[in-house]
């Protein structure tokens, strides 16, 4: 079953074309990563899937429903099935950590405050945050903590679909490693479909089931890492060379560690 289906999508502003006929299907339960250079249209494609942009031509369907359309109830019901981690976290600066995470639950209007509290504390714990963090304002948090709180907020409604926009951007290597491990653990525990945009090769290699490569508004390749490595497209090649080069480097440094005397 496909969670997201995009057919013949065209986007543009004025005379500038962002997407020229994109076809893409994202399957249930997979981690799909969009890669491509800056300005290739990755973030705009993500915004289409979130219903923040309307297609010029073609169609986008998430769970069989166009996300940018529909009546109020359908519009809201669809948004309860997904969670979004924005690049900068997008925490509400007027609310503290607890209220930020609790907001989607409270918006349901049917969950009593005792259960809200237990659920928020459970999520904080899962993200490796403490209860003393719950009273902090977003301005007092470090970059890594902002991402964790934002992920807790994205997951509080137990979504079936999770969007990650540059999940490890702005984190140091150790933190980004633990963040990747966290997402990997959640994915197996919660049976999530994950759509991710990233520049980080380590995240890409460790998390992705399939990869889509965007170049100048065209989706030039879709497949597993192994599959797209063998494509002849120069753009894909240069990107993948980075991946394989890194891997080669990593394995080399593992085997022939320089010895100091």
């Amino acid at each position: 079953m496909n969670v997201i289906e995009i057919e013949g999508l065209w986007t543009g502003y004025g005379s500038q074309i962002v997407h020229a006929g994109i076809d893409l299907a994202i399957r249930d339960g997979e981690v799909f990563t969009l890669v491509g250079g800056s300005g290739a249209g990755k973030t705009t494609l993500l915004r289409h899937m979130l219903g923040l942009e309307s297609p010029l031509r073609g169609s986008v369907r998430v769970f069989g429903q166009p996300p940018a359309q529909g009546g109020f109830d359908a519009w809201r019901a669809l948004r309860r099935r997904w969670g979004v981690l924005f690049q900068e976290g997008a925490l509400y600066s007027a609310l503290n950590v607890f209220d930020n995470i609790a907001l989607p639950l409270r918006e349901l209007g049917t969950v009593d405050e005792d259960l809200v509290r237990e659920l928020v504390y459970r999520k904080l714990e899962q993200m490796g945050l403490t209860r003393t963090d719950a009273d902090k304002k977003p301005a007092e948090l470090s970059g890594g903590m902002v991402k964790r709180v934002a992920l807790a907020r994205a997951l509080i409604l137990e979504p079936e679909l999770l969007y990650l926009d540059e999940p490890t951007a702005g984190l140091d290597p150790a933190r980004s490693q633990s963040f990747v491990a966290l997402i990997e653990a959640l994915r197996t525990a919660l049976h999530l479909t994950v759509v991710m945009v990233t520049h980080d090769l380590d995240t890409l290699v460790e998390l992705s089931d399939r990869v889509g490569v965007l170049v100048n508004g065209h989706l030039v390749a879709v497949g597993t890492l192994e599959q797209i490595q063998h494509l002849e497209d120069p753009c894909v090649h240069s990107f993948i060379l980075g991946v394989t080069g890194r891997r080669a480097l990593a394995s080399q440094s593992m085997t022939t560690r320089p010895t100091t005397t």
């Binding site: 309860r80 099935r81 607890f98 969950v111 005792d114 259960l115 509290r117 237990e118 659920l119």
Partner: protein, 366 residues
Amino acid sequence: MARPVVRVDGTNVELHGAWTLSALHAESGSLQRELASLTDADVHWDLRGIEALDEFGALLLWRAWQWRLPASVLLRSEHEARFSKLPAGASAPRARQRLQPLDLLLGAGQSTISLFDHAAGLARLLGELIIAAALLPTRARLIPWREISANIYHSGTQALAITGLVGVLIGVVLSYLFALQLRVYGADVFIVRILGIGVLRELGPLLAAILVAGRSGASIAAQIGVMRVTQELDALAVMGISRTLRLVLPKVLALMIALPLLVLWTDTSALFGGMLAAQHELGISPMAFITNLPSSVPTANLWLGVGKGMVFGLVIALVACHFGLRIQPNSESLGAGTTQAVVAAITVVIVLDAIFAVAFSDVGYR
């Protein structure tokens, strides 16, 4: 997915369907009441019919079971792990912030301190501004001409329509008001003197200043505030570009030039409105109104009004910059800072106007 169902058969309770947040939240109230009625120790629970169980569903049951697994329960193995991680009791309620009796006093104290704080900040900004301005004569290249001209356009030229409209309407209103009173005493010609002094001395400057404080005050504070959010202020600092020189000074100079001109424009509009109403109500011809104006209104009033406009311009820009620079990089502070800037600018303008009224009480009345 199937709806969550509770099937009770004597002391045997079977749960079926999806116990997830999306399936449960609409009817969690009625289900909880049903579960709560089944708290007897000898109930046999059978949860094997549950198709999907998430954190929310597990917690809902867990709470109904008084935070422990019941004595007799049949579970699917994958659900057992979920329950094993749940806490052994309810967490403490979150501390609520309540108003203490002392809070009012503390609040008043803090407001007073912050008032002095703002006064000190304004004095510091004015000092920085004077130092920056003193640098300019010897370093003509540093004079931010473009910024000054852009600011005059934004806060002056673009305010012409609104100040003109408000001026004409207030002139009409005042003229009608006075005409009714003056006609009773047969003192019709005095309308020119009353309107002339009132508009040139008080209403023109005050109206223009309040409108500009609302328009440009908010825009200056919000602009500087967003520059803080987007780190543009930091970028200026690391490039060695003085924000006092490049941001504050052009705004202050621009308003000191634009506001007196706007005062003249508002004066003219208000007198024009008053003149029309005087003709309609008292039959004073526009020609008579205009020829009478210079002889019945001392010119000192005009200069006083324009001078006030210049001081108001300085104060509005200074106050708006001061509050704008204090904005923290978050949405709440941006809103609060902009509000404070406008409220403070208008208040300071009116306070200064009162001081002017007392200080110049023997000027311009002949």
